[in-house]
């Protein structure tokens, strides 16, 4: 279950891993924060560790930075075991969730701190700090005190500080969590651009599914110290490998059923036509349907070969660009449907208690066995 997607992706690229976790475990008391986890991160990719709070994603990052030591397993960087290397000798840098800027230093002092540790000369230090500040669009901020900066500016200083030593891997611990939504969206694109231009490997920890999907090349979905699925964002969204992954990333409706001999799915809504899957006949499976892939109409759709179900609109969640509907079906179960509000008036197309027909083609949705 763990990393089917990841292994497949690895073979496709053919690149050696920059970072490799080998059977790594980390326990705090009786709790295993990271549980026998194996994972490869490739050179130059934007990699996201995604999961609910307490899933072990931050611990994984701290293991890589060297703030925690694994109880078992090895962590390799460029093929070398870095287990015994203290944090101040690791060629990785971290951007902290709280930013952890030094309040007694100026912006320049903060950004240049890493170079000062390497005894880089004053002149070169000043040049590289200016270069870094320009990169994060903070020219002219060098002499300011950290306390005089806004939240967004602090975030940039923290980013510049963690990049100035040109780390092999940049670790980002919830880097955008403290920003408001609008600024966060802008900064996400800036981060992607920065990563593309620098070519540095970025590993980001986030609990925000949307953020992980937007910024990263690959996502590792974690739960309870284990990997659930490692794959590209679209792969995880369209082909989740378990009900948990499907439910964690985006909205989904799960319909329980058994495969019939003729390939249809026996459910409480009657037989449904489904795409070919790996499941065997008589296995208990779940059909996962994304809300935006369903069609909803007032009349029964005429086309053949569609799955259809009648229901009553139970709830409408208006979101501006689209509306999320919960439709109650004959068996009293609820199905989630998302429709874009395309009409000129922009209002939701259906109202509560409207009788509606849902329909979807045969190959919509995924059959999950887990």
């Amino acid at each position: 279950m763990a990393d089917g997607g990841g292994t497949r992706g690895h073979e496709e690229s053919g690149q050696p891993a920059l970072v490799r976790f080998e059977q790594v475990s980390k326990r705090f008391g009786d709790v295993a924060a990271v549980d026998a986890l194996t994972l490869d991160i490739r050179q130059g990719e934007f990699f996201a560790l995604l999961g609910p709070s307490g899933c072990g994603k931050t611990t994984l990052l701290r293991l890589l930075a060297g703030f925690e030591a694994p109880n078992e397993g090895r962590i390799l960087l460029d093929g070398d075991d870095i287990g015994g290397v203290p944090p101040h000798h690791r060629p990785v840098n971290m951007m902290f969730q709280s930013y952890a800027l030094f309040p007694h230093l100026t912006v320049e002092g903060n950004v240049g701190f890493g170079l000062r540790q390497e005894k880089v000369g004053r002149r070169e230090r000043r040049e590289r700090v200016a270069e870094m500040l320009a990169l994060v669009k903070l020219q002219g901020f060098g002499k300011r005190r950290v306390g005089q900066l806004s939240g967004g500016e602090r975030q940039r200083v923290a980013l510049a500080r963690s990049l100035i030593k040109r780390p092999r891997v940049l670790l980002l611990d919830e880097p955008l969590a403290a920003l408001d939504k609008k600024l966060r969206a802008e900064t996400q694109f800036e981060l992607m651009e920065l990563q593309r231009n620098l070519g540095t490997t970025f590993v980001i920890v986030t609990h925000d599914q949307e953020e992980a999907m937007i910024v990263s090349d690959r996502i590792a979905v974690m739960n309870q110290g284990r990997l659930v699925q490692v794959a590209e964002p679209a792969e995880i969204y369209e082909r989740p490998n378990s009900r948990w992954a499907a439910d964690f990333l985006g909205e989904v409706t799960l319909i329980e059923g058994y495969l019939n001999e003729d390939g249809t799915l026996a459910t409480r809504l009657g037989p449904l036509r489904v795409g070919a899957g790996t499941a065997k006949t008589d296995d208990k499976v779940w059909l996962a349907l994304r809300p935006e892939k369903l069609r909803m109409s007032a009349e029964r759709p005429a086309a053949d070969g569609l799955n259809t179900a009648a229901g009553i609109v139970f709830e409408v969640g208006y979101r501006g660009d689209l509306s999320l509907y919960k439709v109650q079906l004959a068996d009293r179960s609820l199905m989630k449907v998302a429709l874009a509000n395309t009409s000129a008036r922009g209002k939701a197309q259906f109202a509560v208690k409207d009788v509606v027909w849902l329909s979807w083609p045969r190959d919509t949705g995924v059959l999950l066995t887990d």
Partner: protein
């Protein structure tokens, strides 16, 4: 309507703001004015032992007469007799050296408490404050007992064969330093602990991440961030030690005169209230600088963490 409510509220607010000023006026400014006035008077064999006496009931002419009889004689005496200058310098020396010792001992203690497990910290802080539960005088007398010729200190040192005959600890500067450092240690430890405890530990992780080993992270991050606490502790100790009387009087020798003792002698022994008051005023003038410094530091601190 709303205007009246607003003005009433602001009156209430003003009254609240006024309270500390009122407090200062009654308990600081008024006594200081009295001391200042006495320092400008002349000794007299009378009750009270100085002239002129300020009398509100007297007329305009008497009031003018009163101001005409004020004199700077007390200050002139302080300036002319070197004993006063020596007392000031002695106080400065004792306060300076003991504050330095306090800083050296207090910093590791404050740091240690701040780095202990969270649950243990209140207990450790309480242990630092615990001596205050016993009277200050009793604790200083206990030191006489420890430091005397057949006291605990000599006993221990001789049993350990560090010294072979009892040393005279009492009536020396050493005894004063021991007494002062012991008594003032909590005033150094507590502000240091308070600043160190507030420090975000991820700052040290950030320093390590950027390539600073532990020792360098201490000098480049922990130390500068604890400076406000160190400054507060330093001034909190230095200022009262300057005027310390009890400890040098009980533990020090007759040859060491701190300014507090000189003042006491003038006041109780010579019954020279004007000179005693002049000494007090001069001491205050000497301490105004560090006190203002302390005030500024505190304000800066507030601004930084706002």
């Amino acid at each position: 309507m709303s205007a009246t409510i607003k003005s009433e509220r602001s009156w209430g607010k003003r009254a609240v703001v006024l309270l500390p000023y009122l407090w200062l006026a009654i308990f600081f400014l008024a006594p200081f004015a009295i001391v200042l006035k006495i320092s400008l008077s002349q000794t007299a064999i009378a009750q009270p032992p100085y002239v002129p006496v300020f009398d509100l009931a007297s007329g305009w002419q008497d009031l003018q007469d009163f101001f005409a009889r004020l004199t700077l004689d007390g200050y002139r005496l302080i300036g002319s007799d070197p004993i006063y200058l020596f007392s000031y310098l002695k106080s400065l020396q004792i306060a300076g050296v003991s504050t330095a010792i306090l800083l050296l001992i207090g910093y590791p203690i404050g740091y240690g408490i701040a780095r202990s497990p969270r649950g243990l910290q209140p207990l450790l802080v309480m242990l630092v404050v615990l001596p205050f539960w016993t009277s200050f005088l009793i604790r200083v007398y206990a030191w006489i007992n420890i430091l005397q010729r057949d006291g605990l200190l000599n006993d221990v040192l001789m049993r350990l064969h560090i010294i072979h005959e009892p040393a005279a600890w009492l009536a020396s500067d050493t005894a004063i330093y021991i007494g002062i450092v012991y008594s003032y240690l909590p005033f150094m430890v507590l502000p240091l602990y308070a600043t160190l405890e507030k420090m975000d530990e991820t700052l040290l992780e950030a320093a390590a991440d950027l390539g600073a080993p532990r020792a360098r992270a201490f000098w480049q991050v922990t130390m500068p961030l604890s400076l406000p606490g160190a400054a507060a502790g330093t001034l909190l100790c230095f200022i009262p030690i300057m005027g310390e009387f009890v400890i040098p009087d009980l533990l020090g020798g007759s040859r060491t005169l701190m300014i507090g003792q000189t003042l006491w002698t003038e006041f109780f022994f010579n019954r020279d209230w004007p000179v005693a008051s002049a000494i007090a005023v001069a001491l205050l003038a000497l301490l105004v600088l560090p006190i203002l410094l302390y005030e500024r530091l505190q304000r800066r601190q507030l601004e930084r963490f706002r």
